[in-house]
Amino acid sequence: MTRFITSSFSHLILLIGILIMVVPVWMIFASSTHTSSMINMNGLQMFLGDSFYENYLRVLLYQGGFFKEITALKMFFNSFIMATGVAILSVVTSLMAAYALVYYRIKYATLLFWIIFITILVPLELRIFPTYSVMAELNLVNSYFGLIVPISASAIATLFFRQFYKTVPDELLESAKLDGANTWRFFVDFLIPLSKTMIVAMLIFMFVFGYNQYLWPLLVTTSEQYWTVVMGLKMMSGSIVHRFAFVMMSMVPPILIIIVLQKYFIKGVFQDK
């Protein structure tokens, strides 16, 4: 009986927590399906209206920005390019960095690793102006390259891959060597397949990280052509329902990625050894 009470009590707490998180999102969604005048008169709505298609289509195709040069669709495209670029580039670089740190006889490899690791403590915001001036010097302002590259070296991913490689037994490398594998083949035929789930997890992680960038894209793009979704959240003008619709849509890509690859994500972060 006491077990029943404690378990229903904890369920109750969980339920309240879920409601606290979900209800505001739901209210925004419900409100985004009404007309502006309806919201302006009656406030936020709890139930669905019937302007869903109208509002969402308009937001997607509306020419926004100060110069009316960009649509939400283009922003989604930009964000997608940026997030995918960051994800792929940072996973590739950290895979290779970790490989070099663990398997090559580099003097002071541990020291090097800790230096890389310390960069976790230095937020992007702290180095944003020097980084910007480098990009400006290189003429990479207003380009996808400039959006992606400066935030594509991930100390966290390097840490994860390094720790994983360290658990791979030495005999595996030795027996691969005796089987005629060179260092590149060992990387491609062994380390990559063995860390597959972790790679997927890191891809998701870095995709969301790239997608959520705000300050960096804001600085490095002056042309509206390169606006991203998260920037758009701030910049979008228009009526309240349209902004609500945009907010709702901005949540879709990261959620979609996580739902699709969830299986790997959980496995990669928590079960792989």
């Binding site: 005999e171 691969a176 060597k177 005796l178 089987d179 060179n182 397949p193 063995l194």
Partner: protein, 350 residues
């Protein structure tokens, strides 16, 4: 020059550990060589230098007429079976066997045929599609062997491949390895610290201690004629009995008895070694044993007890003799089969 030739090979690890001292050794083509010795004596180090997995600090290694000191392991054409098998966990058994062949650029049909042949030989044909994690210890062992065999290398290296198996399987695999090696005829070096394994497998045996080969020879030579105290104590089960003694004028006096007219000019402190199986009961003999414990193995009995001076002693007798605890036995050394070692240097003197 023989097939594999080690000349004054020394290994000093970066931390200063001297694992192998100036070791020279020749292995003939097709020979089954066993390195045996206690833990930490440098067996694995020696083997790994042959494989190319450790740098050679000093000395030369020649394989098949070619100096291989600086040759990369991937180019040496040697195969190694590791203690924990080191199977490729993400590949199925087929690909585990095929991987080395693929790297050599062999075409697909040939690979398939070679893998199937090796699998048949090792009776693992039914598991070719399985991942190593879905195999038993014995099956993994076979896959590891298969991976070595399929490439038809110049030399097989085994580093204690049986030590992860249970006792029964170990004996079975030991037999199979020996049979397989005879069938395939590949030169092999097998590392173990189990002297029974060493005796049963070896064509020739290298007993290693502290980074030095103490004695090299056929198992029987080494058993019959150990050259040092260490080898005498290491080879043979149960262990040889050792008694303190002293030689003067060709007479050895141990505590409680004397042996006259020994075949040695040595004078001074010695250790007398007697194998438990070289004793028999006879009235009024040299050695008097008070029995503490009898282990009945069926075919044999191992009789443990103490001599007059409370020294532990073991006697091996046929299983059909009944010996009671507490009995007093009088034991004779058969055919004068005893060994005398210089106490200070450990060298054999008779």
């Amino acid at each position: 020059m023989s097939f594999l030739d080690l000349k004054n090979v020394t290994k000093i690890y970066p931390n200063g550990t001297k694992a192998v001292h100036e070791t020279s050794l020749s292995v003939d083509e097709g020979e089954f060589m066993v390195f045996v010795g206690p833990s930490g004596c440098g067996k694995s180090t020696l083997l790994r230098m042959v494989a190319g997995l450790e740098d050679i600090t000093e000395g030369d290694i020649n394989l098949d007429g070619k100096l291989i000191n600086e040759v990369d392991p991937s180019e040496r054409d040697v195969a190694m079976v590791f203690q924990n098998y080191a199977l490729y966990p993400h590949m199925n058994v087929y690909n585990n066997l095929a991987y080395g062949l693929k790297n050599r650029g062999i075409d697909k049909e040939t690979i398939e045929q070679k893998v199937n042949d090796a699998a048949k030989l090792l009776q693992i044909s039914d598991y070719l599609q399985r991942k190593p994690s879905m195999l038993s210890g014995g099956q993994r062992q076979r896959v590891a062997m298969g991976r070595a065999i399929v490439r038809n290398p110049k030399i097989f290296l085994f580093d204690e491949p049986l030590s992860n198996l249970d006792a029964k399987l170990r004996i079975q695999m030991r037999l199979e390895i020996k049979k397989l090696q005879q069938k395939v005829g590949v030169t092999s070096i097998f590392v173990t610290h189990d002297q029974v394994e060493a005796m049963t497998l070896a064509d020739r045996l290298a007993v290693i201690n502290n980074g030095i080969i103490e004695q090299l020879g056929t198992p029987i030579e080494i058993y019959d004629n150990p050259k040092s105290l260490f080898v005498a104590g290491f080879i043979g089960s149960p262990q040889m009995n050792f008694l303190d003694g002293n030689i003067k004028n060709k007479t050895l006096s141990a505590e409680g008895f004397e042996i006259k007219d020994i075949d040695s000019d040595f004078e001074g402190e010695v250790k007398l070694g007697i194998r438990p199986e070289h004793l028999s009961q006879r009235e009024n003999s040299l050695i008097n044993l008070k029995v503490d414990l009898v282990e009945q193995l069926g075919s044999d009995n191992l009789v443990y007890g103490q001599l007059k001076d409370k020294k532990d002693f073991c006697y091996r007798c046929p299983g059909n003799l009944t010996i009671e605890k507490g009995a007093d036995l009088s034991l004779n050394i058969e055919n004068n089969k005893y060994y005398i070692f210089d106490k200070s240097t450990g060298k054999r003197v008779n």
